[in-house]
Symmetry: C2
């Protein structure tokens, strides 16, 4: 708990609703949606950019450590406080006033506290959406702080690509507000400062408002499950699909047998669509979509997908062993059940990796081969976004396994996975969850000294105050 | 000319081919492709990143001012030396060794000295291209330093969006090489430093190598000239096309009557496709394309475009007054002749502006109305990329006009245009040519103090040496 005179001063600035200090009310903010838990000295809930500025300036002048928090749905403890009880959480959850759609510009200017689902619900009536497709339901500010990608990156890109402008509060004694809200798609008049605040976990400033690019909602969608002829055929299959479907292709998601089996086991409502119920080693969910309503004389997307699959079957050394169209709500139901299924399968160690596309399957095969020697009792339940190189590399240990009693087990496991991913396959140890307490040590270990120095140099020219859970530099 | 002992030392590092000091050989580097002219102390032509590092380190240790230069095709004097003869040009034109395509990853790792046309020629046999479509033929390093967009931004985005990795040499005493070459599409493990070097005219470091995202070459294309019912109908027309064509739409280029007339006057081979030869007030070149070869049972793109135009004609308050399909080589020939035509029409004052999409036509109309009062004798020959908000706002004065004798004319004109564009319409005064000597004053004037301070703070943590023609901060 922080000093009462600070609480009084902050209450003066933010009002009664803007400051929480009762333990039972703080708990929801101290607890991550996945598995984090810390203790906060207070929770601040400013409702406007001006209030964020006032609160941040006060904390900077009084050397209070601030942890910005959006939906707290991340994987790496980026927005939960530490155990000391001296961190002040600055929650964005009341920053939900500003909301203005510009139909001509296909953009929206909104406060950073909106949840993704709320944003998309408001956009739906305009036939628009923010095209970052996630399993979780974070708040927009957190999506910017982690630069999330999701399942349709292949077509629409990540948050960075879809961010046109930001308003940012810096942790300096004035609580300086940077207006980087240009709403323009083309603007090259100096350093594009907004890029510094995207994907850096709020360490250099707190995003309070943003202008986002919007896309038109798809009006037609077709999906299929594809079974590649083998791991080495996944990339040829992707390339064959890209060649024949171009910008129609909106997802190409890989799912391992273990991940699918876990989903079937724990979500009984799922239908098993595979022949005889036998889950193949690896399955791709491919989606194609278009934004217009069907036109006279136009082939349906199901027919397009059928004919493309037939063509690929006819190729020499065909990369496709099996493939069948399924209704999107059923195919995606399986895909979206993977996370939940894997979580129930045992104690989960989740890795959010990425690779050059050609290395994904090689990495996964390498790890599966080595796992039984290095870590017997650990099951690989991987799935991922093959189109953009992202892999949710999930490792599961049965809940009564003796491995879990080994004090250094988790650290040994993480170090080995990251060593192979980063050093051997030149991949990334954080594809779309950025850096938080949980992977700080790996940032420190894998980032070249010069880049750490540069990040340390960026701190005093942006937010000299104590901000965020990460130490860059 | 710089001291002979420096020339000797640099020749030691770069070899005879790597250093030019004869005046007649330097001229090509002292002269911009458009209209710049300066004097260089020497021209350095390193052939590898290691040579760039050696040369840059030497210059930093000896306080020599370096101007990085790629194709020198820019609009704002970003890469030409000043008049003093003390700037050393560092040309990328021999940096053309490294070239490696990764077909699985759809990316290429190449030296920054390649020209765009050379890159695309090498990619063509693989059915790939780098999707930045420009009238000029710059070198890749210059495209990164200006973050060019071009005519197909609407579909493929700008250089920033298509850059996966960079290798950068910093102007410090060691000539530090930053390896930001991750080749990954998803990587959020700290500050994304490459963003700082994109669009900042080489002021913070010299890009020597890069990894670029590639796209599949279109195999089918259809284009049409569209005549909107009026200026206020341009955006409704764009939205109607986006709704019905989605990701098919690959260009939506606006052309004013004056710009078209200038093209017809100066490129006699152009066919005038308009009824009775009468050029409408404003014309859109719309392009749709797809990456696959025609499939059985599939409508041709011409038929798709025809039926979409018919639908739009049928709308209430139809935004389309006229529209007809034309073969892409003819429609694009007119579009590509606009720059050349406008240049021959008189003395050209070119502005590279951008706006929120809904403001483009309002700005252009506003200026046309005001021009005769403010600057009689100045003709507006605008054209632009309506889909992304970019406007080539060209002002032409007849060559014998007395306006050209007024010493302050150009400055008065520029200040007025920028004031209306930036202050009244919240647009950008440099959409895709970044900052150079020519618009330094407007950077100084329009950039908030805090952002200038931050840019000044970025200099010592990246390139403390004298680098580039721009002073940020």
């Amino acid at each position: 708990m922080i000093d009462k005179h600070h609480i009084d001063a902050l209450t003066e600035l933010l009002g009664d609703k803007g400051v929480i200090t009762r333990q039972e009310d703080m708990e929801a903010y101290e607890t991550g949606a996945r598995y984090d838990r810390g203790r906060a000295g207070a929770v601040l809930r400013p409702a406007t950019t001006a209030e964020v500025s006032a609160a941040v300036g006060y904390c900077a002048r009084n050397r209070l450590a601030l942890i910005p928090q959006a939906g707290n749905t991340g994987l790496v403890s980026g927005s939960t406080p530490d155990e000391t009880g001296s961190d002040v959480i600055l929650s964005l959850d009341r920053l939900t006033r500003q909301f203005e759609i510009d139909m001509d510009n296909r953009s929206v200017h909104l406060d950073a506290g909106f949840r993704l689902s709320d944003l998309n619900r408001k956009l739906e009536e305009h036939d628009l959406f923010f095209p970052i497709d996630l399993g979780a339901d974070p708040r927009i500010g957190g999506m910017i702080a982690t630069n999330t990608g999701g399942s349709r990156f292949l077509k629409y890109g990540d948050v960075r690509r879809n961010t046109l402008g930001l308003k940012v509060v810096l942790a300096d004694e004035a609580g300086t507000v940077l207006d980087l809200d240009c709403s323009l798609r083309k603007n090259n008049t100096g350093v594009d400062w907004k890029q510094i605040f995207i994907g850096t976990s709020g360490a250099f400033g707190i995003v309070t408002e943003c202008v986002l690019n919007l896309e038109r909602l798809p009006k037609q969608t077709a999906t299929a499950f594809l079974v590649p002829s083998g791991g080495a055929h996944v990339l040829p299959l992707l390339k064959a699909m890209e060649e024949r479907l171009g910008a129609y292709l909106s997802a190409f998601e890989g799912m391992s047998r273990n991940a699918i089996a876990a989903a079937f086991a724990h979500v009984p409502s799922l239908k098993n669509p595979f022949q005889g119920g036998n889950i193949p080693d690896y399955v791709i969910l491919a989606e194609i979509s278009r934004t217009w309503t069907p036109r006279e004389g136009e082939q349906s997307l199901d027919a397009v997908l059928e004919s493309v699959l037939a063509e690929i079957w006819g190729m020499d050394d065909a990369p496709l062993a099996d493939g069948f169209i399924g209704p999107p709500h059923e195919t995606w139901a399986l895909r979206h059940a993977l996370s939940e299924g894997v979580k129930h399968f045992g104690k989960l160690f989740a890795f959010d990796l990425s690779f050059r596309r050609g290395d994904i399957m090689a990495f996964c095969d390498h790890m599966k081969t080595e796992m039984s020697a290095q870590f017997p009792g650990v099951t690989v339940c991987d799935f991922g976004h093959i189109g953009d190189g992202g892999v949710h590399f999930n490792l599961v240990v049965e809940k009564d396994s003796p491995l879990l009693d080994e004090p250094s087990f988790e650290q040994r496991l993480r170090e080995w996975v990251f060593a192979v991913a980063v050093e051997q396959y030149h991949g990334s140890f954080s594809a779309e969850h950025a850096i938080g307490r949980r992977n700080q040590a790996y940032y420190d270990f894998y980032t070249p000294e010069k880049l750490k120095e540069m990040a340390a140099g960026l701190k005093p020219i942006t937010s000299p105050g104590r901000l965020g859970s990460v130490r860059f530099g």
